[in-house]
């Protein structure tokens, strides 16, 4: 006689970019997967904040890159690491 008790590991997906942050579409694709599974308002709020922060960081990254490419490295530092 046997019974279930298998420990299983899901498969991750790796998303990368080069010389840019994520586009809204790229972030939305990942966020959608999460949002569709949300069951409470509190969790929906947490998920939205996380992905909106990610969008903000991507935009800052793009701005930093433009500043650095145009010789304004000091200004770029004010936008964070």
């Amino acid at each position: 006689m046997s019974f279930a008790g298998d420990v299983e590991l899901g498969h991750v997906f790796v998303q990368t970019t080069s010389n840019r942050g994520y586009t809204p579409e790229e972030i939305a694709e990942r966020a959608t997967t999460r949002i569709l599974r949300v069951q409470t308002e509190k969790e929906l709020n947490r998920v939205l904040v996380k992905y909106l922060q990610e969008a903000q960081e991507s935009e800052r990254m793009n701005a930093r890159r433009v500043l650095i490419e145009n010789g304004f490295s000091d200004a770029a530092k004010h936008l964070g690491d």
């Binding site: 298998d6 420990v7 790796v14 990368t16 840019r20 999460r34 996380k50």
Partner: protein, 151 residues
């Protein structure tokens, strides 16, 4: 009512919660969840089911990559729960910003419990970001796909 042999579902959830101790166990300072981290590794690393703890061997370099040794702390987005007879949990996606790195896999480990290994993730090949984002997207949070499951 018939008797059906089973590993009860609540026990599976409680395994993930650290409720049961069949061995020497650990002394816990609080009831808070442990701190789980994820570290990135190059293709030179040897990580598999025999890996017992976090190692710096062939971890992605901290030099000029915007990657910090030890990796990042994972956020548990779904505490241990169950659906049908499967216990599972979920982590938030994790992103390294402005990163220039190549990684072939990752190790999830428990920093609170002496960096003990939890799971090895193989990316299926080198993944590279150049002055960009490197994100590990965890699978959908369901009982059939979530990252950690006890079926």
């Amino acid at each position: 009512m018939p008797i059906t042999q089973a590993m009860v579902t609540s026990f599976k959830v409680q395994i993930l919660e650290g409720v049961h101790n069949f061995g020497s166990g650990v002394v816990r300072a609080s009831t808070a969840a442990d701190k789980f981290k994820i570290a990135l590794y190059t293709s030179s690393a040897t990580l598999d089911s025999t890996t017992t703890a976090y190692t710096t061997s062939n971890e992605v370099s901290s030099s000029g990559t915007n990657y910090v040794a030890g990796g990042k702390t994972l956020t548990i987005s779904q505490a241990p729960t169950s659906t049908s007879t499967t216990a599972w949990l979920d982590f938030d996606d994790i992103t390294w910003d402005s990163a220039t790195l190549t990684s072939n896999g990752a190790l999830i480990y428990n920093e609170t419990q002496g960096n003990k290994a939890v799971a090895v993730l193989a990316f299926g090949g080198d993944k590279t970001s150049t002055a960009g984002n490197f994100t590990i997207q965890f699978p959908a949070a369901t009982s059939t796909t979530a990252i950690l499951r006890i079926a």
